[in-house]
């Protein structure tokens, strides 16, 4: 004899969880609550009868609701980052077809500073794509941290999101404290000058600030890994900017792209350019003492060296990429 509910379970519900299982779960939940457990512990206990994957997610959700998850001292929440990962994977594989090379040049342990060009006027995705390249293609993946334009940290939602996925406000103190804790830190010395440059100047590196990143690297004895990111310039081509709007919202600049703001929210969809990310060989700075950070000439020399290397790699990868979109 075939139980009708069983058939319903196997055919109707792909996950294999029928109403029976849910009812059983809720009955056990009631038992738990009547035994004097709090709802979350009761849910965990009741989940023992569920299929393994569902049980795990119930347990994980209960732990999260209870605040039992790890959050490091800078506010990075690994579980949250993992949850956001698939969304970015979609962009990485399907939308931008990222080709990453030289990922093994990122040290597998110890501190390191990744220095990259910065682009993508409306919302720069270069840090997230570099993170994915490391997490997916490095033999020993680890979550890198990244420096974010300070303005993002006064905005609702964006500030909380950035912090949870490993972003910190861009300043030398934060970079130093992360590197001293042996983290991989991504910095974008071009800053707003990089993201805010017009489309006609794409892939032409802007000034590298005042070389502050070199000072931090020297002081903490971190190797610098130059990174060239190709493709990020075409996602939101900036053809003009609106000063008035920027002043109104307090933003450093508000770009006008072929789709934004004409198409409204649809204009926020980045264009599907083809990406290449190349991680270059690390530049070792441990030969210099920490005091070398005060040597202006040396700082500028290293800063220029890094800049030249990224610029060269940008041109190389532009040639390798060929067409920007196809």
């Amino acid at each position: 004899m075939i139980d009708p509910t069983m058939r319903q379970t196997t055919t109707g519900d792909g996950a294999g969880v029928g109403p029976e299982a849910i009812a059983g779960f809720l009955r056990r939940l009631r038992g738990g609550v009547e035994d004097g457990l709090d709802p979350l512990s009761a849910a965990e206990r009741a989940a023992t009868g569920l299929p393994a994957s569902l049980r795990r997610s119930v347990e994980r959700m209960a732990a999260r609701m209870r605040g039992d998850y790890h959050e490091d001292e800078w506010g990075f929440d690994e579980e949250f980052a993992e949850a956001a990962f698939p969304m970015f994977e979609l962009l990485y594989d399907g939308w931008w077809r990222v080709v990453a090379t030289g990922v093994e040049n990122v040290p597998a342990h110890g501190r390191a500073m990744l220095v990259a060009n910065h682009a993508g006027s409306l919302f720069p995705f270069d840090a997230s794509m570099m993170t994915l390249a490391i997490m997916r293609e490095h033999p020993l993946p680890r979550w890198p941290r990244f420096m974010v334009l300070n303005w993002a940290f006064v905005l609702p939602f964006l500030s909380a999101f950035m912090r949870r996925v490993g972003g910190v406000p861009a300043n030398p103190d934060n970079a130093t404290s992360l590197l001293e804790a042996d983290q991989v830190v991504m910095v974008f010395p071009e800053g707003v000058k990089g993201t805010g440059k017009p489309f006609s100047e794409r892939y032409r590196l802007q000034r590298f600030g005042r070389g502050g990143f070199v000072e931090v690297a020297l002081r903490t004895g971190s190797p610098i890994v130059p990174v060239a990111v190709v493709g990020s310039e075409e996602i939101y081509p900036k053809i003009a900017e609106s000063r008035a709007l920027a002043r109104l919202v307090g933003a450093p600049f508000v770009p006008i792209t072929p789709t934004f703001p004409i198409l409204g929210p649809l204009g926020l969809v980045p264009l599907p350019s083809k990406w290449r990310i190349e991680f270059c060989e690390p530049i070792e700075l441990s030969g210099h003492p920490p005091e070398a950070a005060d040597d202006r000439a040396l700082v500028f020399e290293i800063s220029e060296l890094v800049r030249d290397r990224i610029q060269r790699k940008l041109y190389e990868n532009l040639v390798k990429r060929g067409s920007a979109f196809l």
Partner: protein
């Protein structure tokens, strides 16, 4: 035999001064202990002499030298406007009181150490701030609230005093907000609300120092005063959303421009009169400070880290539930009857 310590504590009716006095009373090397305030301490103190005086009055300059104190602990700072009292009173006590106290200190030749229970508000609360302020990073940002400006002035006066009187070890403790199951403070009351208002889209990183650590750090600084500023904070940091989860409190997100007025509405419940600008900024941008100097130089190791302090608070707090959670049994019966029917 070396003579015992002679310690005078200001603001003795306050929680922290009383807690400190209770600890110091147990120490036989403390020969003389006195507390100054306008009201007597709420708790029973055994051998602490109560000196009734207003620290804003010049009479302090006559009282203090007569105690022959070698250590003065200034706990008289007010952190938030009390209900029904104007902001002016706060400023008077925090700034004019400090000035009178320092004048009195100048006339006390026996003085060797001055410890102030100050505030980390000097660093401000900024979105793009360093994640952990060290002591030399004070005043990177403009002081925005009245309390911040008071703390700024207070620190100025103490810096001047420290420069002119090198024989006195001046120690400025910069406290992060405290937390504890027995504590009555606006932010503790805030976390004890049945539904906690938060700012929509913001999730600040916070540090609450556990009340036993807060008193412990004060005691450690009195025993081993170091020159200059010392941050008093737990290690690590914790986000507000996780605090609320640990405390099992539902959050009520409010768009941030409306949060200040909303907080003022519940101000009476928080024990704060008027606008509580410091709280609004702290609960929007958060603040983290580095406690390396406290642990290394003062030699005080906090027992609780940022998450631990909140866990302890949550474990000992008897929460109230506003909304009755529907019994899962009812739902089970409903689903069960449907599936079999």
């Amino acid at each position: 035999m070396a003579p015992g310590k002679r310690i005078v504590i200001t603001g003795i009716s306050g929680h922290w001064a009383t807690a400190l006095a209770q600890r110091l009373e147990r120490d036989p090397t403390v020969e003389f202990l006195a507390g100054i305030d306008t009201e007597p301490p709420a708790a029973d103190l055994e051998r602490t002499e109560f000196i009734e005086a207003d620290i804003r009055s010049p009479v302090l300059s006559r009282l203090l030298p007569s105690t022959a104190a070698d250590t003065i602990v200034h706990c008289g700072l007010l952190w938030y406007p009390a209900p029904g009292k104007p902001d002016r009173a706060l400023h008077d006590i925090n700034v004019i009181g400090a000035l009178q106290l320092l004048t009195a200190c100048e006339r006390t030749p026996t003085l060797s150490a001055l410890v102030v229970r100050g505030s980390a508000a000097i660093y401000g609360c900024e979105g793009a701030a360093p994640l952990f302020f060290t002591e030399e990073m004070a005043r990177r940002y403009a002081l925005k609230t009245r309390f911040q400006r008071d703390v700024g002035e207070l620190e100025n006066y103490f810096d001047n005093f420290a420069r002119r009187h090198t024989e006195v070890t001046c120690c400025m403790l910069r406290y992060q907000p405290e937390i504890g199951p027995n504590l009555d403070a606006p932010l503790v009351r805030y976390l004890s609300l049945p539904v906690v208002p938060t700012q929509l889209g913001f999730d600040p990183r916070l540090q609450f120092i556990h009340e036993t650590d807060a008193t412990g750090a004060l005691e450690a600084a009195v025993r081993n005063p170091v020159r200059g500023a010392v941050n008093v904070a737990p290690s690590g940091s914790i986000s507000l959303s996780r605090i609320l989860r640990l405390a099992r409190k539902p959050a009520a997100p409010i768009p941030h421009p409306m949060f200040g007025p909303a907080l003022a509405q519940v101000g009476r419940r928080l024990g704060v009169g008027g606008a509580y600008g410091d709280g609004v900024r702290l609960l929007r941008y958060g603040r983290g400070v580095d406690n390396a100097r406290l642990r290394g130089e003062v030699g005080f190791e906090p027992e609780f880290d940022a998450a631990g302090a909140v866990r302890d608070f949550a474990a000992k707090q008897h929460g109230r539930r506003l909304v009755r959670v529907p019994s899962p049994g009812d739902v089970a019966d409903l689903v069960g009857s449907r599936s079999s029917g």
